[in-house]
């Protein structure tokens, strides 16, 4: 199951000519970190340090945007009784199923006409307007909090925002962490928006840089596998820390959908 992953990591410590000659053997005969040194140097006079920094920047802003907007949306759907709520909620679920291709081109044209192509805005701004899946996940969690809390807060003269900020938000911290981690991971993996919207190598995230790096040095497997391995480190660390929450998050939405 994990063989491809192990193969990638172990091969990254083999000298490049050895990788394909001994591709069937997992362990390197004479381990070396040369690939990491060569790979880190990157391309276009940019080291992978730049790409990692860019990925981190994009992911952190997206996490802030998604957690903030989705928790507000989820609170509205889960806790406030108001007319037309169901209409919007169903609409949100429908958008989850909408194929991205249909809106990809107009979105690109829109950002293009705003002169946003070549900037980080197309990658970052939409995350502040909610994300259907994550908002749905948080709504499910907020619904599970007893209704009586609403009443108690009302008696105390607490505004809806007070209820959201001081009572509900602290209670759904684990779910918020799950949303944050899921957002971070998908942002880290995302190369498609970089492919569409970024055109300066100095702005590329690791994912897209890796693709170009492998195009450039198509037979230089060693450094490519070394940087590939390195690029997965943040995701795997996050996964092991938040494993429980992630597993629960997926199971819950899966069942309740």
């Amino acid at each position: 199951m994990l063989y491809p992953l192990f193969w990638m990591v172990f091969s990254s410590f083999k000298p490049t000519p050895e990788i394909m000659l001994t591709s069937g053997q997992l362990f390197p005969r004479s381990p070396t970190i040369q690939n990491y040194i060569v790979g880190w140097a990157g391309f276009a006079r940019l080291t992978f340090g730049t790409f990692f920094k860019n990925s981190l920047f994009i992911a952190v802003i997206r996490v802030i945007g998604v957690t903030l907007s989705c928790s507000l949306i989820a609170f509205g759907f889960a806790r406030i009784p108001f007319k037309t709520k169901n209409f919007w909620f169903i609409l949100m679920i429908i958008t989850m199923c909408l194929p991205g291709q249909v809106i990809m081109i107009p979105q690109y044209l829109m950002f293009n006409s705003m002169d946003w192509v070549g900037t980080y805005f197309p990658l970052l701004v939409p995350s502040f307007f909610g994300h259907a899946f994550n908002a749905f996940l948080l709504t499910q969690f907020m619904r599970n909090i007893p209704k009586e809390l609403n009443e108690t807060a009302k008696i105390d003269g607490c505004s809806w925002f007070g209820l959201y900020w001081h009572i509900i938000l602290p209670l759904v911290k684990p779910a918020m962490a799950t949303v944050a981690v899921l957002t971070f991971m998908s942002s880290w993996d995302d190369f498609y928006s970089a492919l569409l919207y970024l055109n300066k190598p100095s702005m590329y995230p690791v994912s897209y840089a890796l693709k170009l790096f492998s195009d450039e040095a198509s037979t230089n497997y060693g450094p490519m596998l070394a940087m590939s391995s390195l690029s997965l480190v943040p995701i795997l660390i996050l996964f092991f820390i938040f494993q429980k929450g992630l597993v629960e998050g997926i199971s819950t939405t899966g069942i309740k959908a």
Partner: protein
């Protein structure tokens, strides 16, 4: 009525919840629900209009135009659709995608279901297994794994090395028209972890008492599987099936990163061809028409699955 419940167990008053303003706030509560509700979900409403609804309508308009960004869009009626049905590459990409989905969806469903069943039985190592089966889902869609996959299945990659150990001559997996697509299918199936988790959660929801009662009645494990577990799992199967269909018909990454449509367009996914039309040839109108065609196919298929679901999906709360 509920508001009368005023035993005022003076909650430790939180900042922002001042008890002094009680009467005024209480009155305004109900009348303000609509405004407050809308304020809270406003990010979604705004985002929906700006990033989904307007693009959605605009895309429909574009499908009937010729547009290359440089000069203004020109209305051409149904031309794009006519061109599309005469375009051999369009049909190639369509067939490739249907084949991809038709192989990957059932395969992934079966594998994730079987593994979930096995995991639900064992006890001591379940956690470790569950983690290692789930990890591919976490990293699988990354560029790093796509690049590794390409090397694994390369001419002198690990797969051929291992095969040669058993005396099997090397196969040019990614250069052969017959095998390339299946290498990409396997990458998708390898990431069965998240659908497996959904199945696992579903299996856990099956009440133990059902099985116990069946055992008392003398039902063997096979009968119990087909009469209890499987029917109760149909909502999960349904969910994974719909997800799988929608996902696989839109597949893009694995082909773009690993084969770029080669050899001989045998891995030219629909969305990859659409991407080339839009961003390599700047045929925004044609690409929009393609997008709408796929959208209609997906809606029709999903509707079909939904419609069929009443025949095979069993919901416990229907009270049958």
């Amino acid at each position: 009525m509920k508001e009368i419940n005023m035993k005022t167990k003076s909650e430790p008053s939180k900042p922002g919840c001042s008890a002094v303003k009680k009467p005024r706030f209480m009155k305004s509560f109900r009348s303000n629900n609509l405004i407050s509700g809308y304020l809270f979900i406003s990010p979604f409403i705004l985002g929906f209009i700006i990033f989904t609804f307007v693009p959605f309508i605009y895309s429909f308009y574009l499908a009937f135009t010729n547009y290359n960004i440089l000069s203004p869009a020109k209305w051409v009626g149904l031309d794009n659709f006519k061109k599309m049905f005469d375009d051999p590459f369009f049909w190639t990409s369509f067939k490739v995608t249907v084949k991809f989905a038709a192989v990957q969806v059932p395969l992934k469903l079966t594998v994730s279901f079987l593994v979930a069943l096995l995991l639900s039985k064992t006890t001591s190592f379940t956690g470790v297994y569950r983690t290692s089966f789930y990890i591919p889902s976490v990293v699988g869609s990354s560029v790093a794994i796509a690049m590794t996959w390409k090397q694994l299945w390369g001419n002198s990659g690990a797969i051929n090395s291992i095969l040669s150990f058993f005396g099997i001559p090397p196969v040019k997996w990614l250069a052969n028209v017959k095998t390339a697509l299946y290498v990409l299918v396997l990458l998708g199936v390898w990431q069965f972890g998240s659908s497996m988790l959904i199945f696992l959660a579903g299996i856990k929801e099956v009440p133990r008492s059902f099985h116990e009662a069946a055992i008392v009645d003398g039902a063997g494990p096979v009968t119990r599987f087909f009469k209890i577990t499987l029917p109760l799992m149909t909502p999960c199967i349904f969910f994974n099936l719909v997800n799988g269909i929608i996902g696989s018909l839109q597949a893009f990454n694995s082909s773009y990163l690993i084969t770029a449509g080669t050899p001989l367009n045998s891995t030219l996914y629909y969305s990859l061809y659409l991407y080339y039309q839009a961003f390599n040839y700047r045929k925004m109108g044609y690409a929009s028409a393609m997008a709408w065609f796929m959208f209609i196919i997906i809606v029709a298929l999903t509707a079909l699955v939904f419609k069929s679901s009443s025949a095979w999906v069993y919901y416990q709360d229907e009270g049958k």
